[in-house]
């Protein structure tokens, strides 16, 4: 990779009619890390990710990936980005392997078959590689979706609620997988509304009503608020803000 993975967000605003989804978000990330975007439903997590990816245009401010503005990402900029949307986002009529081969074919990979096999191994789906998506359980579909996001070995990865609907064991497996990607040099943004989960992140961005409530490490949040878990920390931060 030419430059280390990085993300910058400056004064990002996005309105949908009368609703303000993002209200002046600032963020600067540099180098491999797992960064959680946490907050209740409707706090702006998905909008932030979509603005970063250039899928939504901001109504104010700007964002960039690897120094390139989100609205003018080049072919090479896009080749280093992995994205797992909130929806299933895989083709139900295709097998797991065919889905991976399709997404791999959108990138100029030198050895596509090897990339597909590597992604299958990463999510431990080799045994069901030739099963149609429509024949898989919800957990397996999420794993297949994650594999599609990683098949081209990206170093900036956006995962929108990747663990939603998964049982605790599968969730733990997914977080292990995210850690392995970080060790391989990736910067990973993971949105979640399971506040307890963000304990797995290196740093956490708490969003509320489109604004940054706080951005720090999980340990620092617990120390600052005296809470026993991240859910308690979030509530304490909310209370503090409301009383301010």
């Amino acid at each position: 990779m030419s430059t280390p993975p990085s993300i910058t967000v400056e004064g990002l605003r996005r309105e949908f009619g009368p609703i303000t989804a993002l209200d002046g978000v600032d963020l600067a990330l540099d180098g491999p890390a797992i960064v959680g975007i946490a907050g209740p439903n409707g706090s702006g997590k998905t909008t932030l990710i979509k603005c970063l990816l250039g899928l939504l245009g901001p109504t104010g401010g700007s964002s960039a990936i690897g120094g390139a503005d989100s609205l003018s990402l080049s072919h090479d900029d896009r080749a280093r980005i992995g994205y797992m949307p909130q929806h299933e986002a895989v083709y139900r009529d295709l097998t797991v392997r065919e889905n991976l081969a399709f997404f791999a074919s959108l990138y100029d990979l030198p050895d596509r078959e090897r990339a597909v096999d590597r992604a299958l191994s990463f999510v431990d789906l080799h045994e069901r590689a030739d099963a149609r998506i429509s024949d898989l359980s919800g957990g397996m579909i999420r794993r297949a979706s994650l594999a599609c996001a990683l098949v081209h070995d990206p170093d900036v990865v956006f995962l929108d609620e990747p663990t939603v609907g998964l049982d605790p064991k599968l969730r733990a497996n997914m977080w292990d997988a995210f850690r392995r990607r970080r060790e391989a040099g990736a910067l990973i943004l993971v949105s979640t509304h399971y506040l307890g989960e963000v304990r797995n992140c290196d740093r956490v961005l708490f969003l509320r009503d489109g604004r940054v409530l706080a951005f720090d490490t999980p340990t620092a949040f617990l120390d600052r608020t005296g809470a026993e878990d991240m859910e308690g920390a979030f509530l304490a931060l909310l209370e503090k803000e409301e009383s301010a």
Partner: protein, 238 residues
């Protein structure tokens, strides 16, 4: 064009296990043509209309639903984040559904010969050309209208609003020239009017060669406009 071949291949691969859609493409047109041949004592005069409208109608349904699914399932966003050009993506749809439309045209060709006693006065090649132009116009229309639908039901709701008036006014029941002026002008802005015009020339040798090529030129214009609009609206940053 980056993404064209993978997208086209994916569309065709998805159909492999989708027997209902395959039946819609291959079996249903032949069955409907047979059914109509049983109803009409002299089916040949209505053949151009049936042959022109069927492909338009079925291609609209396939592309509108197909693209809607792509959008609502989240796969479209994933493709748009990849290094794929918007033109490559739309062209992939054109190639994928173009192959389907060609298959459908050949099925209709055989069904028309077998059941409607159609002789194709101006040749089979022109028939396939007109079918493809009709299908590509329907494809662009399907992609664009699907962007205004939130679910499959809403995509189907466009049929009585957008397609049925074209069938009614486009020459199915009476020549466009005989319509009242306030209906003739809208009819002249609709692709199905030219589709039926061109098909009447191909099948029954109705009209002159220059009128036929005018209809072809207008249909090519509709194809370029429909695909151009689809290219413009697909993946436009919201």
């Amino acid at each position: 064009m980056n993404g064209t071949i993978p997208v086209a291949t994916r569309i065709l691969l998805s159909l492999r296990g989708d027997r209902r859609t395959l039946a819609l493409v291959v079996v249903v047109p032949a069955f409907l043509i047979w059914l109509l041949s049983e109803v009409f004592a002299r089916p040949e005069p209505v053949a151009p209309i049936l042959l022109g409208v069927f492909v338009f109608f079925l291609t609209y349904i396939l592309t509108a639903i197909g693209f809607l699914r792509e959008r609502t399932a989240g796969t479209l966003e994933r493709v748009l984040v990849a290094p794929v050009s918007r033109s490559g993506l739309v062209l992939g749809y054109v190639v994928g559904f173009g192959v389907l439309a060609t298959v459908q045209s050949l099925v209709l060709l055989l069904a028309a010969v077998a059941f409607l006693d159609v002789s194709f006065a101006n040749g089979v090649a022109l028939f396939v050309l007109i079918e493809l132009l009709g299908a590509l116009t329907a494809l662009g229309t399907g992609v664009v209208l699907s962007l205004f639908a939130q679910n499959e039901f809403q995509a189907i709701q466009f049929i009585p609003v957008v397609i049925t008036p074209q069938v009614i006014l486009g020459g199915t029941f009476m020549p466009v020239e005989e319509l009242p002026t306030y209906l003739e002008y809208p009819a002249r802005l609709m692709p199905i009017t030219y589709l039926i015009d061109a098909m009447e020339y191909v099948v029954l040798d109705v009209g002159t060669t220059s009128e036929f090529w005018t209809a072809v030129a207008v249909l090519v214009g509709f194809v370029i406009a429909a695909i151009g609009v689809a290219r413009f609206v697909v993946g436009r940053t919201g």
